[in-house]
Point group: C2
Chain length 255, copies 2
């Protein structure tokens, strides 16, 4: 088979955060496959390039479709937002390969990394990911709440900074509240939290607060939460949002 498949990360939204490698892969594709709004972010359209848009709840079908196109000899690019390996399409494609026709293992499949939402959010706030950190998706589409709660507890016990992806959606309005109750019980109410909405896009907004004061209703589908460790601090500024950073020197437990 001479087809190929590149899974590309478009970054968080700003055009100047798309890597040249991602742009290059897109420019050379015969077929682009992805969630409709992500495909719309790609401006130019080389003559004859086909676009295959799909909804955001059909990831496995989209992955198989892309693999079939590549298997048929097309140069396919699957587009993801952010980095394709972080809560996005790359794992879905490889899962389809593992359980698909043996011939798919012979395909030329490549992943092009991108700036994931957590990095864009952290950059806008200062350096809240400066120490050891975890990333947890609160979506329970693909895992149980038991698993999510276990991970939140472990991340707390390890005094990690925690990036919470997918903190809220219309289908699960109460879950973030439960997650915050759990974190508050373990980390303490004074822990700094950054709510970054639409980070890395032209519409970014940001709220810096604490676990005690955070209202879960302030988060929506476009929000990413960064919950501090014991070494996360805010630097107040006159008439501006504070900078938030995590010292690379961990506070040592008294033990």
């Amino acid at each position: 088979m001479s087809g190929s498949l590149v899974i590309v990360g478009l970054g968080p939204g700003r055009a100047d955060l798309i890597t040249p490698a991602a742009r290059d892969a897109i420019a050379h594709a015969t077929d682009l496959v992805g969630y409709g709004p992500y495909l719309q972010r790609i401006g130019e359209r080389p003559r004859g390039q086909r676009r295959h848009a799909s909804g955001n709840r059909v990831e496995a079908e989209r992955a198989r479709h892309a693999l079939e196109l590549a298997g048929g000899g097309r140069r396919v690019v699957v587009v993801s937002s952010g980095d394709p390996g972080i809560f996005a399409m790359a794992a879905t494609v490889f899962e389809a390969v593992e359980f698909g026709p043996a011939a798919w293992r012979g395909l030329d499949i490549r992943v092009e990394p991108g700036v994931t939402a957590m990095l864009a959010a952290a950059a806008e706030a200062g350096a809240p990911l400066g120490g050891d950190f975890c990333a947890i998706s609160l979506s329970d589409n693909l895992k149980s709440w038991t698993t999510i709660a276990r991970r939140l507890r472990s991340a707390c016990e390890g005094d990690f900074v925690i990036a919470l992806y997918n903190p809220a959606s219309r289908a699960r309005p109460h879950q973030l509240g439960q997650a915050l109750d759990l974190l508050r019980a373990c980390k303490g109410g004074a822990t700094i939290v950054v709510l970054a909405r639409a980070a890395g896009t032209g519409e970014a907004t940001r709220l810096t607060t604490t676990l005690a004061e955070l209202d879960p209703a302030a988060a929506d589908m476009r929000t990413l939460l960064l919950v501090g460790s014991s070494a996360t601090r805010a630097i107040p500024r006159a008439a501006k949002a504070p900078w938030v950073y995590t010292s690379r020197r961990a506070l040592e437990a008294p033990s």
Copy 2:
């Protein structure tokens, strides 16, 4: 003060992984500040742009120097490898601001995100960061081994994929072995591990193995380790390195 300071991530090494935003900040700087080898990665040199190279163990001094230049009205760029917010210069700069002259809080300081090593390593291997994950630096320059061990244990208990930055150096030849012993006791020997060396550069190499079989001597200062969760799998291929990915469906504990 009219000076400015942008802390920029150059990505892992490949020129086509540098974001246009990072390139643009560098092109407009009057002064570049950074670890010598990172400055050398930047090719063109606008007329009159000054470069201030320093060693890799003087991060706090470098941060203060950059802030002093910005305070004096210069347009300063501090360059980091990867993403500047991940085990790099951004946190060091903000820590210098917090404990420095009050006037530094009035400076125009900005962070430009980049592709951090973990994302480049994951992309080359497949999608090993497809589920919830942690990033831990094994360097004990800035935190105790007690803290590192506590975090490794918590990350294990939460069944996270674990990215280990700075796994080895000449000054700490035995630490990675201790970390692996700890992980093996908790995660089990069959856990998949990817050793990614020089990921995202032109010289990338990769070894896929298991916790049971991994020889700590295979890692050096340019290596990043990705230690799987219970949902991390390898897809064997004929005459090629396997793809490694983590299913977004978490394996649920029997509880």
